[in-house]
């Protein structure tokens, strides 16, 4: 399902990021085309999360260049705007607003930053709540929802900003095992609709199902980039083979 004909929407070029003396990203380069589904995996501390957090500037890279939809990211108005218009994100810890109902969590962005009317925003929110299959939870507060439901609300909240790219930062790592699939199903459905996605995850079954490209990172570098059939059957690097052996069921 590789879509070689589509345009590049994210271009990461030789990006490095330091946390003190620790090199979280070491000259990382990666291109993502529109509609492409990229799954990033690797051991903890390998820089996976930092990489996607640089794409929406939750982290600011120290060197190299990130071009998003033709705009070079930096401390500029254009950069802020292109991120706002293009990128949505889902976090490991959901980060829902605990003092707002599910509905208000979702409408806050469209109303305050898009200037949408309350009525339109509510309709939009209900549309996305139906898409993540929990419209009946609209009036509840996050704490009364299960982890899987909370994460689906977080996905609906991100989608209500109508992004062209969705970043997933270990979306199922904080969930109880029985709730992982309901979130992965929503993500797979989203992937099927043609959304550009970069997912940091250890869910290799999901990766096999939806990824166009697998990326393996270790020690701040991208060690291997391959389509899933190649990646899972014949990974080139020894480090990647070792990692896959550890996390794939035998």
């Amino acid at each position: 399902m590789l879509r070689n004909e589509t345009a590049t929407i994210i271009s990461i070029r030789a990006v490095s990021k330091l946390f003190g003396a620790f090199k979280a990203l070491d000259e990382v380069s990666l291109d993502v085309r529109e509609g492409e589904r990229v799954v990033v995996c690797g051991p903890s501390g390998s820089g996976k999360s930092t990489l996607i957090r640089c794409v929406n500037r939750l982290e600011k890279h120290d060197s190299g260049e990130i071009v998003l939809d033709g705009v070079t990211l930096g401390d500029t108005r254009d950069s802020v705007k292109v991120i706002a218009d293009t990128v949505g994100m889902v976090f490991q810890q959901f980060n829902l607003f605990p003092h707002l109902t599910v509905l208000d969590n979702i409408t806050l962005g469209p109303v305050r930053s898009r200037g949408m009317s309350e009525t339109d925003a509510k309709a939009l929110a209900m549309h996305y709540l139906e898409r993540v299959k929990i419209p009946e939870q609209a009036g509840k507060y996050p704490r009364h929802l299960s982890g899987g439901q909370q994460q689906r609300v977080a996905i609906a909240r991100a989608l209500s900003m109508e992004p062209r790219v969705m970043l997933f930062d270990e979306p199922t790592s904080a969930l109880d095992p029985e709730m992982i699939n309901e979130v992965l199903d929503v993500m797979a459905e989203l992937a099927g609709s043609g959304m550009t996605m970069i997912c940091v995850t250890h869910e290799m079954g999901f990766a096999r199902r939806v990824a166009d490209t697998m990326v393996f990172m270790d020690k701040g570098k991208i060690v291997e980039t391959a389509p899933p059939d190649v990646f899972f059957t014949a990974p080139e690097s020894a480090r990647c083979q070792e990692f896959l052996q550890q996390i794939l069921p035998h």
Binding site: N56, V87, F91, N95, F97, S113, A158
Partner: protein
């Protein structure tokens, strides 16, 4: 945000009465002490014309005590937030402004600040200031430094993920503070703020030294005329006790009110 209805007020009054019924026992103090010849409750005996006059004279300061405290608290709650926010900035100059303000303003005792604002400020700035506004300014100024620290603690206690989530739905600084951070922070700092409200109400008694006609001043004046400090100051203690119980009931009610919405939707 939910509004306050008359049923809420009725419920509040019932709850206040229920939780403070024991206060009625205090009525025993004058009754029992009346048996001793050291006490002369006649000065405030409501059944005699002069006692009644004295009692109403004492109570007549109530309005000013309330007005002064409420005005000062209202100003300091807003001012405190405006002082706290620069302290959380990445800009070192803004942070320095916050530190200097807090350290300088909270240093002088409130009494000193009252004297300085009433006698000093008019000379320095070539302005006229009434006793009331001098009191309000001194109390609000002093309290704002403490409120700022309370806000800072509250805002800093909010998880970083909340800011990041707000950023990913493109909220700017003002919207993030207004809709995401402050509503959560204020719920957490309400008990500390309630404490500060009680403290301010008590400190308003110091404004009596510049001639503000509030509760303490009235009591002082009556003591000079009647020379019965024991009974008159006992009444004064009771007056503050009742006021502060009302404030604490209000704060507790507000706490419940703010968390009620979340608790209700099961």
């Amino acid at each position: 945000m939910s509004r306050i209805s008359t049923t809420d007020i009725a419920a509040l009054m019932t709850r206040f009465w229920k939780s403070t019924r024991w206060i009625a026992l205090l009525a025993l103090v004058p009754i029992l002490s009346g048996c001793s010849d050291r006490w002369g409750w006649y000065v405030v005996n409501p059944t005699t014309p002069s006692g009644w006059t004295n009692l109403t004279f004492l109570m007549s300061g109530l309005w000013y005590t309330i007005l002064l405290s409420v005005t000062a608290i209202a100003i300091s709650v807003v001012l405190g937030l405006l002082i706290a926010l620069p302290g959380l900035s990445k800009n070192p100059l803004l942070r320095a402004f916050n530190r200097i303000y807090v350290e300088v303003v909270r240093a002088p005792p409130i009494l000193v600040l009252i004297l300085w604002v009433y006698y000093g400020l008019p000379q320095a700035a070539d302005i006229q200031i009434s006793v009331f506004w001098a009191g309000v300014v001194a109390l609000a100024l002093s309290d704002s430094a403490f409120e700022a620290e309370i806000y800072r603690a509250g805002i800093q206690s909010i998880d970083k993920g909340q800011y990041e989530a707000a950023q990913t739905i493109s909220l700017g600084y003002t919207d993030t503070m207004r809709y995401v951070i402050l509503p959560q922070a204020i719920r957490r700092i309400l008990p500390a703020m309630g404490n500060q409200f009680v403290y301010m109400l008590k400190m308003s008694s110091l404004v009596s030294v510049i001639g503000m006609q509030e509760l303490t001043r009235k009591a002082n004046e009556l003591v000079t005329a009647e020379y019965r400090p024991l009974e008159i100051y006992s009444i004064l203690v009771l007056e503050y006790l009742v006021l502060i119980l009302v404030v604490s009931a209000l704060v507790r009610w507000l706490e419940r009110r703010l968390t009620a919405d979340e608790a209700r939707s099961k």
